[in-house]
Amino acid sequence: MNPDNFLYLSIILFAIGLIGIISRKNLFVIYMSIELMLSSVNLVLATFSRVHSEHDGAVIALLMIAVIAAEAAIFLALIVYLYKNTKTIDSEAFTQLSHKRGAK
C-alpha cells in the first residue's frame, strides 16, 4: 500500500492541532488540539505498522491511547477545577505567574 496519503492526513491533522493550540483561547479547544496532534501521531504509527506489515506499531498506538487517556483525565479535572474557581476557561485569564517588573 501507499502510505503517503495517510501520512499527508496525519501531517494536516498535526498542523491543525498546532494551529489550534496557538490560536484558540478556550482551554477545551486547546486540549482538543493536543488530542488531535496525538491522534495524528497514532495514525502515523498505525500507518507504519501497515507498511512494515506487522502489529508493533498498532500496539504502540494502543499504548499511546492509554497514556493520552491518563493525561486527559488530569487535564479535564484541572479544567473543571479552574472553571469552578474562576468561572472562566479562557486561557488568557490565567496569567498570575507572569513576570512582574518593578517591585524591587
Binding site: L18, I21, I22, S23, S91, E92, F94, S98, H99
Partner: protein, 631 residues
C-alpha cells in the same frame, strides 16, 4: 682616623634620635630645656673638634691622601655594591670643618633664639639630624649615599621650615620647598640612573667613576651632567627651581642661617665640585651651568633690591651668591666656587643671625621699613652686620672680596665676557641692596618706629662676633699671590680646576673694577636710604613687577598647581566616573535592559509559550536543513 670619621657622621644622628625620642615620649614636659641644650650643642662641638682633627691630619699628609671609613655594606645586588662608606679628602674635609664650625655656632645661637619654645626638644633633634645628614651628604664615598644625604637634608629642611606648623602658610612654604627640591632630585636620580647604566659593573663610588669616566661616551656624560645639575638647581635654588628659597624663610631664623644660607643650599655647588672630573669632560654643560648661575645671580639681585622683608632680602642674596658659585664651578674654577661657599657661609650666617637678633629684639618684626635707627639700640649687631655687609659686597679686605674676585677673574679669563659683565652688574646690585638693607634697618630714621626693644642674651650675640671675625679674615686663606696670599685654599683642596695664567696687572685691574662697582652701589644706597628710604626706580610698573618677584610664583601656581588640581578633578569626575565606570555601567545596563526585555516575554500566556516552543522547533528544523544541505 676612620673611626673618627664614622663618629663625625653618626654622632649627630644618634643625638638626634635620643633628643627626638625624649621629646616625643616626654608627654608631660618633665625634661627641661637644659637637657636638650646640653646634648644638642655638645654633639656639634664634639663633631667640630673631630672634623678639625681630620682636617689637620689631612693637611699633614700629601694632597692625595684621603681618610676612608666603611660602616657596613649597605646594598649588594649582583655586582652592584654600595657601602655606607665615607671619604674625607681635602674637599669634603674643608666642607665638614666649616659646616660643623658654623653649625655649632648656630646651635648655640639657636639655644637662645628658641628658648621657651614649645618644640625646643624637637628643634634640636631636627637640627642635629640636619647636621648628620649634611655630613652624610658631604662625606659620602658614592653618589647613592650622597643622594641619601641629599634627600635627608631636604626632608629636615621641610620639617624645619614648617616648624611652626600651626600656621598654615609655614607648612605651605615647607611643602613648596620639599616639592621643588624633589623636582630637582628627580633630575638627580635620572642622572644617577644614566650613570649607573653607563658604569656597568665597574663599581659606583666616586673613585670608580673617576677612573672609568673615559670609557663613557660624551653624549651620555652630557646627559648625566645636565640631570645632576637639575638636582643642584633644586637644592641650591637656581632658576627655575629657586622659588622655594624665599618662602623657606618661614622657618625659625637659625634654620635659615644654617640650612638656607650656610650649608644645605651649597650642596649643589659641592656636588658639581665633587663631580669635577665629570664636568671637566663636558665644558658645554659647564657653560650652561654658568649661564644659569649668572642669570640667577642677577635675577635674585634685582628682586632683592625691592624686598621689604629682611629675611627675604637675605634669601635672595643667598640665591644670588649661589649663582656666583655656579658660575665658578661651571667654568671649571671649582676651588674658587668652593672658596666662595666657604666665605659665604661665614658672612651669610652672620647676616642671618644678625637679622634674627634684630627680629627677636623687635618681637618678631621682619619688615625693614618698620625698623630703622637700631644702631644705638643694638650696637654689636650693627657692627657685625656691617662687617658682613662689607664682606658680601666684596669690599676688601673682607672675605667676600677674595672669593668673588677669584670667580669674576676666572670668568673674564675664560673669555666669557657676558658672564663677567653680568657678574659685575650683580656685584654692583649686591652692594646696593645690602647697604640698602643695612641703612634702613640700622641707620635711617623711621618715623613709625615705636617698638620696644628686647634685650639680647649673650648666646645670641657671641656667635655673631666669632662669625664676624671669620667674615673678616677667612678671605685671606684663599688670597692669591697678587694679593700677597699663596692660594692656600686652592692648593689644599686640589680640585681639577681649569687654570688660566693671569698677570698681576690684569688681576689688579679686575679687582679694581669690582671694588669700584661695589662702592658705586654703596654710594647709591647711601644716597637713597641714608636718611629716609625712597625707592630709586621711578617707573611704577617696573617697580611693581620687581616687588612681585616678576610674578613667577603666580605663574608656577597657574601653570603647575592649578593644572594639576584640575587634572585630578578631571581624572576623578571624567575619566573614572564617566569614561571607565561609564563604560562598565553602560555595558551592565545594556545587559540588564536586554534581560528585562527578554524576561518580559514571560507573560504567563499559554499561547505565547506554545509559540516560543514551536518557533524553537522551527528554528531547530531550519538549522537541521541548513546543516544537512551543507553536508
Amino acid at each position: 682616623m676612620s673611626t673618627l670619621l664614622l663618629l663625625v657622621v653618626f654622632l649627630p644622628f644618634l643625638s638626634a634620635l635620643v633628643l627626638g625620642l625624649t621629646y616625643l615620649f616626654d608627654t608631660h614636659k618633665r625634661v627641661n630645656e637644659k637637657f636638650y641644650t646640653i646634648l644638642g650643642v655638645a654633639v656639634p662641638i664634639l663633631v667640630t673638634i673631630l672634623s678639625f682633627v681630620i682636617v689637620l691630619d689631612l693637611m699633614s699628609h700629601s694632597s692625595t691622601t684621603v681618610v676612608t671609613a666603611v660602616a657596613f655594606n649597605w646594598l649588594s645586588i649582583d655586582s652592584f655594591h654600595i657601602d655606607l662608606a665615607f671619604v674625607a679628602d681635602p674637599l669634603s674635609a674643608v666642607m665638614i670643618s666649616f659646616i660643623t664650625f658654623i653649625g655649632t655656632l648656630i646651635h648655640i645661637y639657636a639655644a637662645a633664639y628658641m628658648s621657651s619654645d614649645q618644640g625646643f626638644g624637637k628643634f634640636f633633634s631636627y637640627f642635629n639630624l640636619f647636621l648628620g645628614s649634611m655630613l652624610l651628604l658631604v662625606l659620602a664615598s658614592n653618589p647613592i649615599i650622597m643622594f641619601i644625604g641629599w634627600e635627608l637634608v631636604g626632608l629636615v629642611s621641610y620639617l624645619l621650615i614648617g616648624f611652626y606648623n600651626k600656621e598654615y602658610e609655614n607648612v605651605t612654604a615647607a611643602n613648596k620647598a620639599f616639592i621643588v627640591n624633589r623636582v630637582g632630585d628627580f633630575g638627580f636620580i635620572i642622572g644617577l640612573g644614566i650613570l649607573f647604566v653607563a658604569m656597568g659593573d665597574n663599581g659606583f663610588t666616586f673613585a670608580d667613576i673617576k677612573e672609568n669616566i673615559y670609557a663613557i661616551d660624551n653624549h651620555t656624560l652630557t646627559l648625566v651632567g645636565i640631570f645632576l645639575f637639575i638636582g643642584a638647581m633644586g637644592k641650591s635654588a637656581q632658576i627655575p627651581l629657586y622659588v622655594w628659597l624665599p618662602d623657606a624663610m618661614a622657618g625659625p631664623t637659625p634654620v635659615s642661617a644654617l640650612i638656607h644660607a650656610a650649608t644645605m643650599v651649597t650642596a649643589g655647588v659641592y656636588m658639581v665640585a665633587r663631580f669635577s672630573f665629570l664636568y671637566n669632560e663636558i665644558p658645554q654643560v659647564g657653560e650652561f651651568i654658568a649661564i644659569i648661575g649668572v642669570s640667577s645671580a642677577l635675577f635674585a639681585a634685582i628682586i632683592a633690591s625691592y624686598q621689604s622683608d629682611i629675611k627675604k632680602i637675605l634669601a635672595y642674596s643667598t640665591m644670588s651668591q649661589l649663582g656666583y658659585m655656579f658660575v665658578a664651578v661651571g667654568l671649571g674654577a671649582y676651588s674658587a666656587g668652593i672658596f666662595h661657599v666657604f666665605t659665604h657661609a661665614f658672612f651669610k650666617a652672620l647676616l642671618f643671625m644678625g637679622a634674627g637678633a634684630v627680629i627677636i629684639a623687635l618681637h618678631h618684626e621682619q619688615n625693614i621699613f618698620k625698623m630703622g635707627s637700631l644702631k644705638k639700640a643694638l650696637p654689636l649687631v650693627y657692627i657685625t652686620m656691617f662687617i658682613a655687609t662689607l664682606a658680601i659686597s666684596g669690599i676688601p679686605p673682607f672675605a667676600g672680596f677674595f672669593s668673588k674676585d677669584a670667580i669674576l677673574n676666572h670668568a673674564f679669563m675664560s673669555e666669557h665676557y657676558t658672564i663677567w659683565v653680568l657678574g659685575v652688574i650683580t656685584a654692583f646690585l649686591t652692594a646696593f641692596y645690602m647697604f640698602r638693607m643695612l641703612f634702613i634697618v640700622f641707620v635711617a630714621d623711621m618715623k613709625n618706629n615705636h617698638i620696644e626693644h628686647k634685650a639680647l642674651s649673650k648666646a645670641l650675640t657671641y656667635p655673631l662676633i666669632v662669625l664676624a671675625i671669620g667674615a673678616t679674615f677667612a678671605g685671606f686663606l684663599g688670597a692669591n699671590e697678587a694679593y700677597g696670599g699663596s692660594d692656600l685654599f686652592k692648593s689644599f683642596i686640589s680640585l681639577n680646576d681649569i687654570n688660566y695664567s693671569i698677570s698681576h696687572s690684569t688681576e689688579y685691574m679686575l679687582g679694581f673694577v669690582n671694588v669700584l662697582v661695589s662702592l658705586l652701589g654703596v654710594t647709591l644706597a647711601y644716597k637713597y636710604f641714608r636718611t629716609s628710604p625712597q625707592e630709586p626706580l621711578p617707573n611704577k610698573r617696573v617697580r611693581t613687577l620687581i616687588i612681585n618677584k616678576f610674578y613667577v610664583d603666580e605663574l608656577y601656581d597657574r601653570l603647575f598647581v592649578q593644572n594639576l588640581r584640575s587634572l585630578s578633578n578631571f581624572f576623578n569626575k571624567t575619566v573614572d566616573e564617566k569614561l571607565i565606570d561609564g563604560f562598565i555601567n553602560n555595558v551592565v545596563h545594556l545587559n540588564l535592559y536586554v534581560a528585562s526585555k527578554f524576561t518580559s516575554l514571560q507573560n504567563g500566556k499559554i499561547q505565547h509559550y506554545s509559540i516560543y516552543l514551536l518557533s524553537g522547533v522551527s528554528m531547530m528544523s531550519l538549522l537541521l536543513i541548513y546543516i544537512l544541505e551543507v553536508r
